[in-house]
Symmetry: C2
Subunit: 131 residues, 2 copies
DNA sequence: ATCTTTACTTACCTCAAGGTAACTGGTTTG
DNA sequence: CAAACCAGTTACCTTGAGGTAAGTAAAGAT
């Protein structure tokens, strides 16, 4: 079932290509994984705005459910983007905050934003032309 | 609610402000939508490297299936990222190429790559510490 | 004392992205 | 003329992200 056309390409180069592809693409896919999903960016924004309690985030993001929020916060914690702290001075408070490290997504977010704005504009112009 | 120290704004706070405005969030989600999925980035990279024929892209991206590739190329064409050209000089050739416009994702991909590499490193170090 | 809030968890469901595998209709090569 | 290659298509299946709704244990408010 293997195609013999592959044998036109020497093995080393085939492996090289696969490795190149992997090493180039893998970090990109990792990064995409980190920011992808319906709720990662909204949650990050809520936290950036200073909403730190579970219920505050819930109110800040309409339509998110507690299940998904809990889930996402756990994952973001595991990935080092969020820290959970439980204070008990007079009352008990659970607070979430962005880590110092999480700010390293900044260039990604800015690049996404720039591109997103251009993209919207492009689609708008295309629609006008097609009318 | 928000405290206003207006003029001497650190970078983090500038980013915070950008994100604060909900209308600025939508382009970010748009941009994420465009690059999301298992195959968009690999296909884009393959095309950036000059692989233009259907079968060339297939070879460049291990494990992609013809169904998904055809599907993705169609969507990318509709979104203005790819152009399909059929030449018939001596033989018939179908070629795909990135549009001028599609190169505007490049900063996004580079930012993602840089972040992805850092992120991997960070996770690796965390694991070492936790052992 | 009981009603509400907080910070979740659990069980079940839905839907679309993607995978599997076979098929097609034309072209080219041996 | 048969086999392989090219550029896909089609039908069916799997998986996981996210949604729905209800439950829970502890703390606070009235």
């Amino acid at each position: 079932m293997t195609t013999n056309k592959d044998e036109n390409v020497p093995n080393e180069i085939r492996v090289e290509r696969i490795l190149k592809c992997k090493t180039e693409v893998q970090p990109i896919m990792d990064a995409i994984y980190v920011i992808t999903g319906k709720w990662r960016v909204p949650i990050t924004i809520a936290l950036m705005e200073g909403n730190r309690r579970f219920s505050e985030i819930m109110k800040e993001i309409p339509k998110i459910t507690s299940k998904v929020l809990a889930q996402q916060l756990k994952e973001m914690e595991l990935n080092g983007f969020v820290e959970k702290k439980i204070y008990s001075d007079t009352i008990i408070r659970t607070e979430y905050q962005l880590t110092e490290y999480s700010w390293s997504v900044k260039p990604v977010i800015l690049a996404l934003r720039d591109f997103g704005i251009k993209h919207r504009e492009t689609l708008r112009l295309e629609k006008q032309v097609n009318k």
